[in-house]
Symmetry: C2
Subunit: 223 residues, 2 copies
């Protein structure tokens, strides 16, 4: 999850030539689904997008939340491998793959930019592997909160309040756990005086360093 967008003026102009802004009003609207023909790439302009995969068992794993500046819709052999739907009203630039490909062959620096974005998402995915492989659910929740407070759109530094755009179900599917476990995680964070729940979606972050210390502990702490 990150939002950096470094394109030259010229590149931006060229991209805008082939991109169409699309608005998604309603929460849950599907942008594309896994298996579909991949005709477009999307660039997030505003909002939050959920990228996920539904496994054969019917359970959903959320791979990432995409924010303004992020790119989504990479195909594999011509089809999407993930699904994407909007978490809240959002605006995306929709770019036809065919045209983007043309543009990239003419403009290698654009392709390089594209590569940088994919490499970034790749590293982000690796961070998540570490999180899921090494941390217990309580630590993952802490990591999740620490990631989100990096984004001014959700975190108000003045009153230290974090406004989550997500339900407990979304968080659970992102953290690879059950919604109940997430709720219990918040309960414990509150008991340990690291956060305070204002509403189920608004959390006051009381002790950032405490959250950071949590992340680094062993999965099974001796205390």
């Amino acid at each position: 999850m990150a939002a950096d967008n470094l394109l030259s003026q010229k590149q931006q102009a060229e991209l805008r030539g082939i991109a169409v802004a699309v608005e998604y009003e309603h929460e849950g609207t599907v942008i594309f689904s896994e298996g579909e023909d991949a005709r477009f790439v999307y660039l997030v302009a505003d909002g939050v997008i959920r990228i996920g995969r539904t496994s054969d068992g019917g359970r959903r794993q959320i791979l990432a939340f995409m924010l303004p500046g992020d790119l989504l819709g990479l195909p594999d052999a011509g089809s999407y491998v993930n699904s994407a739907d909007v978490v809240c009203p959002s605006v995306l630039y929709r770019i036809p793959w065919a045209k983007l490909r043309d543009l990239m062959t003419r403009e290698p620096s654009l392709q390089h930019n594209f590569l940088v974005k994919v490499a970034h998402d790749f590293r982000e995915a690796q961070r998540r592997i570490v999180m899921l492989g090494q941390q217990n659910t309580y630590q993952r929740l802490a990591s999740f909160l620490l990631d989100f407070i990096q984004h001014p759109a959700f975190f108000d530094k003045a009153d230290r309040c974090l406004t989550l755009p997500l339900s407990r179900f979304d968080m659970a599917d992102y953290l690879g756990t059950a919604p109940e476990t997430v709720a219990r995680g918040f309960l414990r964070l509150e008991r340990d005086a690291l956060v305070r729940r204002v509403t189920s979606r608004i959390v006051e972050i009381i002790d950032v360093d405490g959250l950071r210390r949590l992340q680094m502990r062993k999965r099974r702490a001796e205390t």
Copy 2:
């Protein structure tokens, strides 16, 4: 984990001009470590490479095993973010970043090839997120075995024997669990008549479909 290498004759020739083959004899030899200055990219010619990250707590998470044809050493802001060491005697082509960058600007199709490789690794990382987020350790072990039997270098179809190049510790760090749990996983797979342990590193795969069915079950099966 995959090994597909689609470069044109010309590209191969140009790459060979700047690449140096490096041999690593001994198991465990470090190719690069996280935090180091990223001066080279490596292409696996022969052997198996372990890509991992050591978290602040001192625990190691193996992100991927790289096989011939795979690329490693992507930098982030000029430094490696992962560590790489050899699992068994291996040969790598070492390519200086600076020269590769030059070559890519002159040869956009090479850059495109590079992009395809990174995109592939990215999708592979996403697969691992799903595995770690949704499956229990027993299922992950099954997934791991199913991945490995795709590679003829390790799996002898004639006698259905899989020769693992990895220790139980490596598998544990890859699967995000403890070596004991991996051993117990094998015990159970054997009890369920899905595999037979010949030695600790050689496994006869008895029931591939059974392993596949395992993957798809719920984390907590009712049977």
